[in-house]
C-alpha cells in the first residue's frame, strides 16, 4: 500500500507549466480549477489493468461458457427482450459520449491528480462501449427475434428515442468540459446509472434475461469510481467561490436535460416491458434519485453553496405520469420503431392501477384500443386515431406531451420567423439561455415531414430480411405480423405538427 501511495504522490507531480508554447484552450471553460485536489481511488495503471482483466474474464466467460450454451437468451421473456433493442444503442452512445468527455477533461483540467482519474475513466468508457456492443451482438445471435439487435444501430438516427438520447447524452462533451462532467459524472453516473445498471437488472433477471445483469453490473462496478471522479470534480469546482453561480446554472440545466430524457425512457422500459412483475420505476426512482442522490449526495455539497437542482421538485411531481406518457408515445408510433410491442393484459392493468392509482382513468382505455388495433386486419394504427401528433421539443427532442397529454406543458414559439416547440418551462428557459446550441438539427418530424409512412419504413430500413415485413410490430405474434403492404394501404403521412399548431408567443 505504501508503494501505491508513494507512486501516486509522484504521479501527481507529472505536470509542469509550459514555457515553449502556449497550449491552446481547445475546450473553453468558464470555471477556475484548483491545481490540487483529491483522487480518492489513487488510480494507477498496474492495479487498474489487473482489476479490469479479472472483471472482463468473469463477464465474457459467463456469457460464452454458460448462458449461450444453455440457450438462456432465447428463453427470456420476449416482451422484455424486445425493449433491449432500444436500451442498448442508447446506452452504447452514452458510454461513447463519455469517452469523449474524459478526453476533454484531460486536456482542460490543469490538475494531474484528477487527470489520472479521467484517464482510467476514459478506458472504462471504451470498455463499456465495447461491452454494450458485445451484448447487442450476443442478442442478435441468441435472442428469439434478432431483428432490431442486428441492425438497430443503423436505425437509431431515424428513431425519436435515440435522437432524444443523443441530444441529452451529447451534453457530456458538446460544451464546456466542466458542464460535460456535471452531466456525465455528477448527474447521469451518480443519479441515473443506479436505476439503469442496478435496478433494471432485477427486472431483467426476473424476466429470464441473465446476460444483461451480467454486463450491466460489471459496468456499474466501474461507475462507483466515476462517481468519485464526479465528486472530486465538483468538490474542486465548489472550492472556488467564483464558480458557484455558473455551477448552479449548469447543474440545474444538466439535471433537467438528463431527467427529461432518462426518466420517461427508463420508466416506460421498466414498467411496460416487464412481464414477471415486481417493483415500479417510481419506487426505484424515489429510492435512488430522490433519497440517495438528491437527499444525500447533493445535500453533502449544500454547505459549499450548491443547491438541489432548480427543476428537481417539478421533475419529482411529473414522475408519476411521465413513464405512462412515454410508453404511450412509443407504442403509438410502433411502425417507426425497431422492436415489437406486447399489448398489456389484465394482469398488467391490475399492476398499474395498484402501483399508480388512477392510471386506468387516464390510460386504460387507450391500452384497450391499442390491443384492438394490434392485428393487421384492424386496418388501424394508433397514429391514425390521434388528431395531431405532438411536436418534438427543440431542446430535448422529446414529444411535447409530458407530463400527461391532457396537462401537457408544451408550447409553440415563433423565433426569427421559424416555429419551435418546447416541451416544458425548463426546456424553453434552457433554450433562451443559449439558443444557438439547439439549432443544429431538425426534429424527426421536421426531417420527414410529408413522407408517407410506408416510404419512411422502406427507405430507412425498418423492414425485416424478407423486405416485406416490418421490424416493429404491435404484438409478439409471429404469425400475424404487419407488412409494408398493410401500412401502405393506410395512406398515412408523417406531418410535422408544428405546421398546424398556433404560435403562443413571438420572440
Amino acid at each position: 500500500m505504501q508503494h501505491i501511495i508513494e507512486t501516486h504522490n509522484r504521479v501527481k507531480e507529472f505536470d509542469w507549466q509550459f514555457s515553449y508554447v502556449d497550449k491552446p484552450q481547445r475546450y473553453p471553460t468558464k470555471y477556475k480549477i484548483p491545481k490540487r485536489t483529491k483522487d480518492p481511488f489513487r488510480h494507477l495503471i498496474r492495479d487498474y489493468c489487473s482489476m479490469e482483466q479479472e472483471k472482463d474474464d468473469r463477464q465474457y466467460g459467463a456469457m460464452s461458457d454458460v448462458m449461450a450454451r444453455a440457450g438462456l437468451p432465447g428463453k427470456a421473456s420476449q416482451r422484455w427482450m424486445e425493449i433491449m433493442k432500444l436500451v442498448l444503442p442508447v446506452t452504447g452512445f452514452g458510454e461513447y459520449a463519455a469517452v469523449k468527455s474524459t478526453g476533454q477533461l484531460v486536456d482542460t483540467i490543469d490538475n494531474a491528480e484528477l487527470r489520472q482519474g479521467y484517464m482510467a475513466q476514459m478506458i472504462d468508457e471504451v470498455r463499456h462501449t465495447n461491452q454494450v456492443a458485445h451484448l447487442t451482438r450476443y442478442f442478435a445471435k441468441h435472442a428469439h427475434d434478432p431483428e432490431g439487435f442486428s441492425n438497430g444501430i443503423a436505425l437509431r438516427s431515424k428513431s425519436i428515442q435515440c435522437r432524444a438520447g443523443r441530444a441529452a447524452l451529447q451534453g457530456f462533451f458538446a460544451g464546456d468540459p466542466i458542464e460535460g462532467a456535471i452531466n456525465l459524472q455528477a448527474v447521469v453516473e451518480t443519479a441515473f446509472t443506479n436505476p439503469l445498471f442496478v435496478a433494471m437488472t432485477e427486472i431483467a433477471a426476473a424476466n429470464g434475461d441473465q446476460a444483461t445483469p451480467t454486463v450491466f453490473l460489471s459496468i456499474q462496478s466501474d461507475e462507483s469510481r466515476h462517481m468519485a471522479n464526479g465528486y472530486a470534480t465538483l468538490a474542486a469546482v465548489v472550492s472556488e467561490p467564483d464558480n458557484l453561480p455558473m455551477l448552479q446554472q449548469d447543474f440545474d440545466r444538466a439535471f433537467w436535460r438528463q431527467h427529461n430524457f432518462f426518466d420517461p425512457l427508463l420508466s416506460a422500459v421498466y414498467d411496460y416491458f416487464q412481464e414477471e412483475r415486481s417493483s415500479s420505476y417510481l419506487e426505484k426512482w424515489t429510492e435512488w434519485v430522490d433519497h440517495d442522490w438528491a437527499g444525500a449526495y447533493i445535500r453533502k455539497l449544500e454547505p459549499f453553496g450548491l443547491k438541489i437542482p432548480r427543476w428537481f421538485d417539478e421533475a419529482k411531481e411529473r414522475m408519476f405520469w411521465v413513464g405512462h406518457t412515454a410508453a404511450m408515445v412509443v407504442y403509438a408510433a410502433w411502425p417507426m420503431m425497431f422492436w415489437r410491442h406486447d399489448p398489456l393484459n389484465a394482469r398488467d392493468f391490475e399492476w398499474f392501477e395498484k402501483k399508480y392509482p388512477g392510471w386506468y382513468n387516464h390510460f386504460g382505455k387507450w391500452w384497450e384500443d391499442f390491443a384492438a388495433m394490434s392485428d393487421p386486419s384492424s386496418g388501424m394504427i394508433p397514429l391514425m386515431a390521434m388528431e395531431n401528433l405532438p411536436p418534438l421539443c427543440r431542446v430535448c427532442h422529446m414529444p411535447g406531451v409530458f407530463p400527461r397529454p391532457d396537462i401537457a406543458t408544451m408550447r409553440v414559439r415563433m423565433i426569427n420567423g421559424k416555429k419551435h416547440g418546447f416541451c416544458s418551462d425548463a426546456c424553453e428557459h434552457i433554450f433562451r439561455e443559449e439558443p444557438q446550441r439547439y439549432l443544429g438539427s431538425p426534429t424527426l418530424f421536421e426531417e420527414f415531414d410529408g413522407m408517407e409512412l410506408g416510404d419512411f419504413i422502406e427507405q430507412n430500413g425498418f423492414l425485416r430480411a424478407d423486405g416485406k415485413t416490418l421490424i416493429g410490430q404491435p404484438h409478439l405474434n409471429a404469425k400475424r405480423m404487419w407488412t409494408l403492404k398493410d401500412i401502405r394501404a393506410l395512406h398515412y403521412e408523417i406531418k410535422d405538427p408544428l405546421h398546424k399548431l398556433p404560435v403562443q408567443e413571438v420572440l
Partner: protein
C-alpha cells in the same frame, strides 16, 4: 380500403450485425464492438448535431484534420484491439514488470546494480523521460476526442493509455528501488526536465505536440518520427542497451514493453497513412503533401531533441555513448516504417542529423 392481411410466414433474419461492412470475409469481434459507435452526421446517420458547444460549431468537424477521407470508419486497426484484449495485454506486461521487480528485490539484485547508473540514469534520465511520456499522454487524450470515427478514436485512446503506462512504470520502478537502495532518490528529476539544457529541445517538442490541434498529425508525428527516433535513441540506446551493462534487468524490460506498444502504434499509424493515400481517395495527393510537410517539420524537431541529449549520453557510467550510430540505425528503421506506409523516406534524407 383493401383489407390488410398481415404475414403468416416466420421470417428468417440475419444472426449478426448487418450494418458493418467487414474488412475481410467475416465480421470480427473487434469490428463488431468498435464500428459505428460514433454517430456520423450527414453520412450513416440522419439528423444534424442535436447539441453544440456555445459557439454553435459541430462537436465533430471534418476540418479537425488537414487530411481528408470519404469514410473514416473504413479504418481497421491491424492489431484488432478492443478493450478486452488491450487490457489483457497491458495487465500481462505490468504483471511481468511487477514480478521481475519483486524477484529482483528478493534476490538482492539491486545491490549488484551499478550505483552511478541508478543515480544518474534511472533516478535521473529515465525518470526525466516519464515527464515526456506524460506529455505524450496529454497529446493523445484530446486527439481521441476529435477523431472522426470510433475505430481511430479508440486507437488514440489506447495509445494515450500506453504512454501513461510507461510513465507510471518508470515511477513505480523508482519507488521500489528506493525502498532497497539507501540514498537513491529521483528528487531532482523534475528540475532537470524543466531546466537542464540537455532536455529542453525534448520538452519543447512535446509541448509543441500537446499544442497540436490536428488529431491525425499527432499519431503520424509521434509514431513515424518522434518515437522511432527519440525513443529508439534515448531509451533504446541509453536504457535498453546500457542497462544490462550496469546489472540492471528491470529498466530494460520496462523499455521493451514500451517498445511493444510502440510497434503496435506504428502499425496502426501506417494503416492510417495507407488509407488516406489510397489511389481511390480523391484527396490522396493533397493528403500526401500534408503528411510530408508534417514529417519534415517533426523530423527537424526530433533531431534537435536527440542532439540535445549528447551530454546525457556522455555520462553513461560504463563509458560515454556516441549517439550518432544509434541515430543512424534508428533512421534506417524509420525509413522502413515510412516506406511500408507508402511514404518516400528520401524526403527526410537531406535533413542533417
Amino acid at each position: 380500403m383493401n383489407a390488410p392481411v398481415g404475414t403468416t410466414v416466420a421470417v428468417e433474419s440475419a444472426r449478426d450485425f448487418s450494418f458493418i461492412k467487414p474488412a475481410k470475409r467475416r465480421l470480427t469481434e473487434y469490428e463488431a464492438v468498435t464500428i459505428r459507435q460514433q454517430w456520423e452526421t450527414g453520412g450513416f446517420d440522419k439528423g444534424g448535431h442535436f447539441l453544440t458547444p456555445a459557439d454553435g460549431r459541430a462537436p465533430w468537424r471534418t476540418e479537425s484534420t488537414a487530411l481528408a477521407h470519404p469514410d473514416w470508419f473504413a479504418f481497421r486497426d491491424p492489431a484488432q484491439l478492443w478493450q478486452r484484449p488491450y487490457i489483457r495485454m497491458q495487465a500481462e506486461q505490468e504483471r511481468a514488470i511487477e514480478r521481475l521487480t519483486e524477484d529482483s528485490v528478493e534476490a538482492g539484485a539491486f545491490a549488484d546494480t551499478d550505483r552511478a547508473w541508478l543515480d544518474e540514469f534511472i533516478a535521473g534520465h529515465y525518470r526525466v523521460w516519464s515527464f515526456f511520456e506524460n506529455g505524450l499522454f496529454r497529446a493523445f487524450a484530446p486527439a481521441q476526442r476529435e477523431a472522426l470515427s470510433d475505430c481511430l478514436g479508440n486507437a488514440l485512446c489506447f495509445q494515450a493509455f500506453d504512454q501513461m503506462r510507461h510513465a507510471q512504470a518508470i515511477v513505480s520502478h523508482l519507488v521500489a528501488a528506493e525502498a532497497v537502495v539507501p540514498g537513491l532518490s529521483d528528487a531532482g528529476a523534475k528540475q532537470r526536465w524543466l531546466e537542464d539544457p540537455a532536455y529542453q529541445p525534448l520538452r519543447r517538442l512535446v509541448e509543441q505536440l500537446v499544442a497540436t490541434d490536428d488529431w491525425c498529425e499527432i499519431p503520424i508525428a509521434t509514431n513515424l518520427v518522434i518515437l522511432p527516433l527519440i525513443s529508439e535513441v534515448a531509451i533504446g540506446g541509453l536504457i535498453r542497451r546500457q542497462g544490462p551493462l550496469h546489472q540492471d534487468a528491470i529498466s530494460p524490460y520496462i523499455a521493451l514493453t514500451a517498445d511493444r506498444d510502440r510497434r503496435r502504434n506504428a502499425a496502426w499509424t501506417q494503416a492510417l497513412v495507407k488509407m488516406v493515400l489510397d489511389d481511390k481517395v480523391p484527396a490522396a495527393t493533397a493528403n500526401r503533401q500534408v503528411i510530408e510537410a508534417w514529417l519534415v517539420k517533426w523530423q527537424s524537431r526530433a533531431l534537435a531533441a536527440i542532439a540535445g541529449l549528447a551530454p546525457i549520453a556522455a555520462r553513461v557510467p560504463a563509458g560515454a555513448v556516441d549517439l550518432t550510430p544509434l541515430l543512424v540505425a534508428a533512421r534506417a528503421q524509420q525509413d522502413k516504417l515510412l516506406e511500408a506506409a507508402g511514404l518516400d523516406a528520401a524526403l527526410l534524407a537531406e535533413l542533417p542529423s
